[in-house]
Symmetry: C2
Subunit: 277 residues, 2 copies
C-alpha cells in the first residue's frame, strides 16, 4: 500500500499568463504533468504519484477555476486550458513532458500535444475521447450544476462523494474532501468555481476530433469499461480515427480512472515515459 | 406546493404468497398501484400521491427485498416480483388496477400486464424499457453494490443521496433518508437488502421485449431526457417494437422521474386512469 500524502504543505503557486496555478512538483527525472478532470483537483493523482515513486518528476496541477488556482471570470475553453499547460511546462522548464490527463485533462493534453509537439512528448488520455454524445454532455452539465451546494459537515461532503463516485476507494474519497472543499461561513463548499465549471462543460462541447487526428506524438487512449462518459461507440470511433494509437480498456473501472486504478495508470505513465521519444 | 406526508404511521403489511409486503393505501376510487425502482421504497411516490389528491386510490408498495417488506433469500426475478404484484391486487381486491412503475417497477408492471390483463388495466412505465444495453446494467450492478455501506450519520446518508441522485429535489432527498434507511449499531444502513439488490439487477438482465410486444392493455412509455439508464437507442427500439404505445420524453429529468417530475407523473397517471378501459 503506497502512502497517501494528503498534505497541502508542499503546494506552490506558479504564475502562468495572468493566472496563478497551484502545483505539486515532486521527484526528479523525466517530467510528467498530471491534469485532473472537471471539478477535480491535483489531489486525484496522489495514489498514482505514490505508485510512480521518485524516479520521475511529477507535476500535478490545479487547473484554472479548480482547487487552489486562480479563477478568471472567463476563459474555460480548450484554448485557455492548453495555453496554461504549455505555459506551465515552459515556466517550470520541464518540457518536453509526458502529460497524463483525466477527462477534461485528457482533452487538454491531446489538444496541447497537437498544437505544440515540442513541449509534449506523449499523452496518456484517461477516459475522454472525441465523439462523446451530446446527451452525455447534457447529463454531465446537469450533474456539475448539481454540485454547487453548501454542505453542513465534512461527513456530508464525504457522503456526497461516495454517492457521486460509487466505485471510488475510501482513501480517494478522503482526499477529495481534503483537497477539493473548503470550510466557509455556513458549511463546506467545493473549491471548484461553479461558473467556471459550467463554462468548462460548455467548452467540452466543441469536439476535438481534429486535434486527435493531427496529434503526432504517442498517445495512449484509456477507457474505464464501466464509464458513463466514454461510450463504447465513442471509443470505437476514436480508434477508427487513429488505429495506430495504443488503446486500453480497464475492467471494473468507471470514469474515475486515476483514483480507481492508480497502479494501472502509473504503469501506463511509466511505459509512456520509456517509450516516448 | 403539495404536502409531503413523510410519516410511517399509515403503513401496513399485506401477506402475499409467503411474503409480507409493506403498503400505503390511500384515497378511494380507481386503484393505482405504485412500484418503486431498485433500492427504492414506497416513499418515492409521496409527491406523486400528493399531486393526485384523494380521487384515486393509491397503493404504494415496498417491493420484496426493499423498505419494510419481507426479504426472502431468493426470488428476485420478474416471475416473483410480478407474482407479488398480481397477488397484492387480488388480496386488496383492487383490480383491474392501473400500475405506475419506475425502473424495476416499470418492468414488473409491463410483465404483469402481459401475463394477466384482467388484473392490470394500464401501465405507466417510467424510464425503463427493453433493449437496455448490457454495459448499462453492468454499471448499475456496480453502483448498487457500492450502496451497501454503513453511514456514520443521517447527514452522511443525505450527502450520499445528493451525490448519487444529483437532480433530486431536497424534499425527495429527505424522504429517501426517512423511508429507505435505518439506524443500527454503528450507524445507518439502507433497508434494501444488499443480496436481494444484486439478484434483482441480475433479473433485469433478462430482457422483456417479448412481454412488451405481447402486452395488450394501454401502456405509456416515459423516458427522462437525461436518463443514463434508458438510452435514446433503447427507447427508439422500444418505440419501433410498439409504435402504437404512447411515448413521452421529459426534458431536464434523469432516471428518477417520480421524484424529479411528480406533477407530470401524476398527470400521466390521471390520463391513464381516464383512458384505460
Amino acid at each position: 500500500m503506497p502512502e497517501h500524502p494528503e498534505t497541502l504543505a508542499d503546494l506552490r503557486t506558479v504564475r502562468v499568463g495572468g493566472t496563478e496555478l497551484c502545483v505539486r512538483d515532486r521527484g526528479s527525472g523525466p517530467a510528467v504533468v498530471l491534469l485532473h478532470g472537471t471539478t477535480g483537483s491535483l489531489g486525484v493523482w496522489d495514489a498514482v504519484v505514490a505508485h510512480l515513486g521518485g524516479a520521475v518528476r511529477t507535476v500535478a496541477v490545479d487547473q484554472r477555476g479548480h482547487g487552489r488556482s486562480g479563477r478568471p471570470a472567463s476563459g474555460y475553453g480548450a484554448d485557455e486550458y492548453t495555453a496554461d499547460l504549455l505555459g506551465l511546462i515552459a515556466e517550470l522548464d520541464c518540457g518536453p513532458a509526458v502529460v497524463c490527463g483525466h477527462s477534461l485533462g485528457a482533452r487538454n493534453g491531446v489538444v496541447a500535444a497537437a498544437r505544440e509537439p515540442a513541449a509534449v512528448r506523449g499523452v496518456v488520455a484517461l477516459d475522454y475521447t472525441p465523439f462523446i454524445e451530446r446527451r452525455v454532455l447534457d447529463e454531465l452539465e446537469a450533474r456539475v450544476r448539481g454540485g454547487d451546494r453548501v454542505f453542513a459537515s465534512a461527513e456530508e461532503v464525504a457522503g456526497y462523494i461516495r454517492g457521486r463516485y460509487p466505485l471510488m476507494p475510501e482513501d480517494a474519497v478522503r482526499r477529495r474532501v481534503a483537497y477539493g472543499y473548503t470550510r466557509e461561513a455556513g458549511g463546506y463548499r467545493a473549491l471548484a468555481d461553479p461558473a467556471a465549471m459550467v463554462r468548462t462543460v460548455e467548452g467540452l462541447r466543441r469536439d476535438f476530433a481534429e486535434e486527435t487526428r493531427a496529434v503526432a506524438v504517442p498517445v495512449t487512449l484509456v477507457r474505464g469499461a464501466l464509464s458513463r462518459l466514454v461510450s463504447p461507440d465513442a471509443f470505437a470511433a476514436t480508434r477508427r480515427l487513429r488505429p495506430d494509437l495504443r488503446a486500453v480498456e480497464l475492467p471494473g473501472v468507471d470514469h474515475y480512472v486515476p483514483e480507481e486504478a492508480p497502479e494501472r495508470v502509473a504503469g501506463l505513465i511509466r511505459e509512456m515515459v520509456g517509450a516516448a521519444p
